[in-house]
């Protein structure tokens, strides 16, 4: 079935030309000299007052990176990146310190414009709130540094550590040293290794044993400066029985040149712990002709290290000129569970190559993958996923469902699943067709007097909402604004 007019209209509304976060904030910034060398790495490390071992770690990554070649297997096409013609560190000159009052008002206004009122939340913190109202602690990253983290005091009371990773390196070096690179090693892949060498900031979260994090944690990434790459590093650890829900959002100004965003996210879940990681990715996608936009080359991986642990990834991808990311779960602990829910929308000349990896190592591990891809304009949208059960992963279970929708005949939708079973008790099911899920429902709706098209729209909309519901409430609203789209005529 071709897309109905309504859907086409709604997709146009989120079209690349109407990117509303494309403004630039004019603030003074301090940058590392252009280019990338050992000196750049030393500069960043020195700027951050890092311990000696951290510099050694970075330099090892950098030397490793020099021997590596950029991967070409993804279904994306872009001009060669000149790694020497970019800034690897850019910080607003007035660095935020003790409280929000010291933050450059210009930056605060930027976040307000983006709908993230840092100041307001800080003020509201002291006010009595109605029971049960949800609050979000925000860590705002502006170019290379974290400018503000809200609700610090309250989180501290609960024992939760939530701070910029550069601060954590100084205050909790033992924790950072123990976990950094334990999920995504410095040798992992080209972009992750680059990140290990030059990452400037990002969030660090540690939830101690038995603690349920009292509020949603959120980081907002903003690339502002021209010609800079953003390399943030997020590390989240949930100790035994802990629970944390973490949200991530991102935007960038509209620029003609491509900017590189190569982040690394590492999650570690110990016994009975649960981490929920949600992303609404809305980097600048470039204009309708494919000029400019962010290259989003991200490595995200979660390690279900303990028994009965759970990691859940939810992502809504609407931005970036090129997306290259595969949030993955290593299901190491027995009875652990991994989930991946994704909606990826591409328009204009965007290229998306995204998916997940579920690596079943422990016994009785389960995983679930729900992926919805929508491509319009001249974009290409690829789902690439790996599900594998190793010899000892007895009773591994996986269910995968990936659907895609094409709007117009100049775009492409592709599905590349890898399913590897090395254990006879593993049960893997993979499906990529709408009819399988919805025939009964369609019949039911039609029997109630709806047209086939209306019925399809209703059923599939409901299904996408299931994915949306995985997002914490604050983000669900934002995401829904981005995708109020009816899906029909899906193809695998």
């Amino acid at each position: 079935m071709p897309a109905v007019q309504e859907t086409v209209e709604q997709v146009r509304r989120i079209d690349v030309d109407q990117y509303k976060y494309g403004f630039v904030t004019d603030i003074e910034s301090e940058k590392a000299p252009i280019g990338l060398s050992e000196d750049t790495v030393r500069y960043i490390s020195a700027k951050k007052n890092e311990p000696e071992w951290m510099l050694a770690w970075r330099l090892e990554a950098f030397r490793r990176w020099l021997t590596m070649r950029e991967p070409t297997w993804a279904r994306v096409d872009y001009p060669k990146i000149d790694y020497q013609n970019a800034y690897y560190f850019s910080a607003p000159k007035k660095n935020a310190l003790a409280s929000l009052d010291e933050v450059d008002p210009e930056i605060l206004r930027t976040y307000e414009k983006l709908g993230i009122p840092l100041r307001e939340q800080e003020i509201l913190a002291g006010v009595v709130r109605p029971e049960g109202e949800r609050r979000v602690a925000v860590d705002a990253v502006f170019d290379s540094v974290s400018v503000a983290t809200t609700f610090k005091a309250e989180l501290k009371k609960a024992g939760v550590i939530f701070m910029p990773i550069s601060e954590a390196l100084r205050e909790h070096p033992e924790l950072v040293k123990k976990y950094l690179g334990s999920v995504v090693p410095i040798t992992d892949n080209f972009f992750a290794t680059l990140n290990s060498a030059v990452f400037s900031d990002g969030s660090f979260v540690y939830v101690p044993a038995g603690v349920r994090c009292p509020m949603e944690l959120s980081t907002y990434f903003r690339i502002n400066e021209k010609n800079t790459g953003q390399f943030e590093r997020t590390l989240i650890i949930a100790d035994k029985g802990a629970y944390v829900s973490y949200l991530e959002g991102c935007t960038a100004p509209m620029r003609d040149e491509n900017q590189l965003h190569a982040a690394v996210v590492e999650l570690v879940a110990h016994d009975d712990a649960e981490i929920k990681y949600s992303t609404v990715q809305n980097w600048y996608p470039g204009d309708a002709d494919g000029k400019g936009g962010i290259f989003n080359f991200v490595t995200k991986r979660g390690d279900c290290r303990g028994a009965r642990s759970k990691i859940s990834w939810t992502q809504v991808e609407t931005g970036s000129a090129i997306t290259w990311k595969y949030p993955s779960c290593i299901l190491r602990g027995d009875n652990s569970r991994g989930e991946f829910y994704s909606i990826a929308i591409s328009n204009g000349r965007q290229q998306v190559d995204s998916g997940t990896k579920m690596i079943h190592l422990g016994k009785n591990t389960t995983s679930r993958i729900i992926s919805k891809g929508i491509s319009a304009g001249k974009s290409n949208n690829t789902y690439r996923g790996l599900v594998t059960a190793h010899r000892k992963a007895t009773n591994a279970r996986n269910f995968t469902n990936c659907d895609s929708l094409l709007i117009g005949n100049q775009c492409g939708a592709h599905t590349v699943p890898y399913i590897e079973a090395k254990n006879s008790s593993a049960v893997f099911e993979h499906e990529a067709s709408t009819s399988k899920i919805s025939e009964d429902m369609l019949f039911y709706c039609q029997q109630r007097g709806m047209s086939a098209e209306e019925a399809t729209a209703l059923v599939v909309n409901g299904f996408v909402k299931d994915v949306l519901q995985q997002l914490p409430m604050e983000f669900a609203v934002e995401a829904q604004k981005l995708i109020s789209i009816s899906l029909e005529g899906s193809v695998g």
């Binding site: 897309a3 005949n409 592709h414 079973a421 399988k436």
Partner: protein, 437 residues
């Protein structure tokens, strides 16, 4: 790490190059054919044998599996021909036209060459040598691919069948190409066949391979015309290292069915390159693989929908025992103008042992918006609930398992249109089950 320096050549690569250098002058065909061989050989020289970093060969690392390349097979002597006499027995009960190839060379004296109107049968070696126009028009042109397996075949192709079925003709019996190993010494054969089925013709083609310790690289170029009905069955058994490529173009309003049966075969790679070039064609590409011991069977498909309104169904099932390894890679490509394409792919692996490995990669690449495409993939063991049910009815465990496996395989074999072939393959599957330890 993504370092991709071309390593030192492996012994097998060196042996292949030596075979080509040595045989170049004697291989059939001059002029355009010789150029075709040169081109293909250069493709092999620059790329080397495919390895796990080559996406299409990810799970069948030929560079590691092919330790050494055997010398090209000599022309079969009387002993070899006698040895090959009983090949293709799996279809004994089926009334068919037998065409026998021993160590890759056509054996007319073992073949049934009774004349039939509208049916032309010849040897590829002869056709290449005398630059036969039909062969010159099609060889190397049916489906353009950069695949190294195909390139090696083109460079070293020796003999095979050339069959033409004229427009509107339906041959009386299925045509059975029997590729047998005759020689006792390890050798390699590069067989290439061309079958042209003209408008409105109806044909059933069977290709069977059974060999001992040999290396076979077989390719079949199949030109399926408009309004035809073609059933193609490939049966692969034996201990050979076997690489087979089907290169097919299917015309409009055709009914094309292909079935690949692989049982007790040591190392098989069946790669199918099929293009739907005309509208309203219906095709079914199916296969069943039975593996045990250290068998390795790889079914790889590239199905290209290049015309609107075509329907394709792909279904592959494998049963794995011992330490075997089954691979399925199916890629469906829908070109931008191929609207109303209806393609469905299903792959299922039944794992009977904890040491077996099943790798599935069903892939879709879609550039048209008004299509229905889908794929399903499952991997798992026998349903313990079903087994319990059967056992509670007094059936032994082993028998219950056999029944369930049979049911699993039959679902696909059932789809073969020709009754005789269907029954013969069912019997072969039962034999495999019966001998399961």
């Amino acid at each position: 790490m993504n370092v991709e320096l071309r390593p030192v050549k492996t012994p097998a690569e060196l042996a292949l190059s030596a075979s080509y250098a040595d045989a170049r002058a004697r291989l059939p065909g001059k002029g355009a054919v010789a150029e075709l061989r040169e081109d293909a050989f250069r493709r092999f020289e620059t790329r080397g044998l495919p390895h796990r970093r080559v996406e299409q060969w990810k799970y069948t690392d030929l560079r590691a599996l092919l330790r050494d390349s055997y010398p090209l097979a000599a022309l079969p002597d009387a002993a070899a021909r006698a040895h090959a006499k009983n090949a293709g027995q799996v279809l004994t009960g089926v009334d068919r036209r037998r065409l026998v190839f021993v160590d890759g060379a056509f054996a007319p004296e073992l073949s049934d060459l009774t004349e039939e109107e509208g049916l032309t049968i010849g040897s590829l070696a002869d056709a290449l040598a005398k630059a036969d126009p039909l062969v010159m028009a099609h060889v190397g042109k049916v489906f353009a691919t950069e695949d190294v397996g195909v390139a090696l075949n083109t460079a070293l192709m020796g003999d095979g069948a050339v069959i033409r079925i004229a427009a509107g003709v339906t041959p009386q019996r299925p045509i059975h190409l029997i590729f047998a190993a005759g020689s006792e010494t390890p050798s390699s054969a590069f067989v290439r066949s061309l079958i042209v089925i003209e408008k409105g013709a109806k044909a059933a083609i069977i290709e069977s391979h059974d060999g001992g310790d040999s290396q076979v690289n077989s390719a079949l170029e199949l030109v399926v015309g408009d309004d035809t009905q073609v059933d193609y069955v490939k049966i692969t058994q034996g201990r050979a290292l076997h690489i087979a490529s089907l290169l097919a173009t299917v015309g409009a309003r055709a009914k094309f069915n292909s079935f690949a049966f692989t049982g007790d075969a040591a190392l098989v790679r069946n790669q199918n390159f099929i293009r739907f070039a005309g509208e309203n064609t219906k095709a079914a590409i199916r296969g069943v693989s039975l593996l045990r011991g250290r068998d390795h069977v790889d079914n790889t498909l590239l199905i290209e929908h290049a015309a609107p309104h075509c329907e394709s169904r792909e279904q592959f099932r494998s049963v794995l025992d011992g330490e075997s390894h089954a691979v399925f890679q199916g890629k469906i490509v829908v070109q931008p103008h191929a609207q109303k394409t209806d393609a469905k792919m299903l792959t299922r692996a039944l794992l009977l042992s904890d040491n077996a490995e099943a790798d599935n990669k069903p892939e879709l690449e879609i550039f048209a918006d008004d299509v229905v495409c889908g794929h399903g993939a499952t991997a798992g063991a026998l349903d313990p609930g079903l087994k319990f049910y059967l056992m509670s009815r007094g059936i032994s465990e082993k028998e219950s398992e056999a029944l369930l496996i049979e049911a699993f395989i039959d679902e696909t074999i059932e789809e073969i249109a020709h009754e005789g072939i269907r029954d013969a393959l069912k019997f072969a599957a039962l034999k495999w089950l019966g001998s399961r330890g």
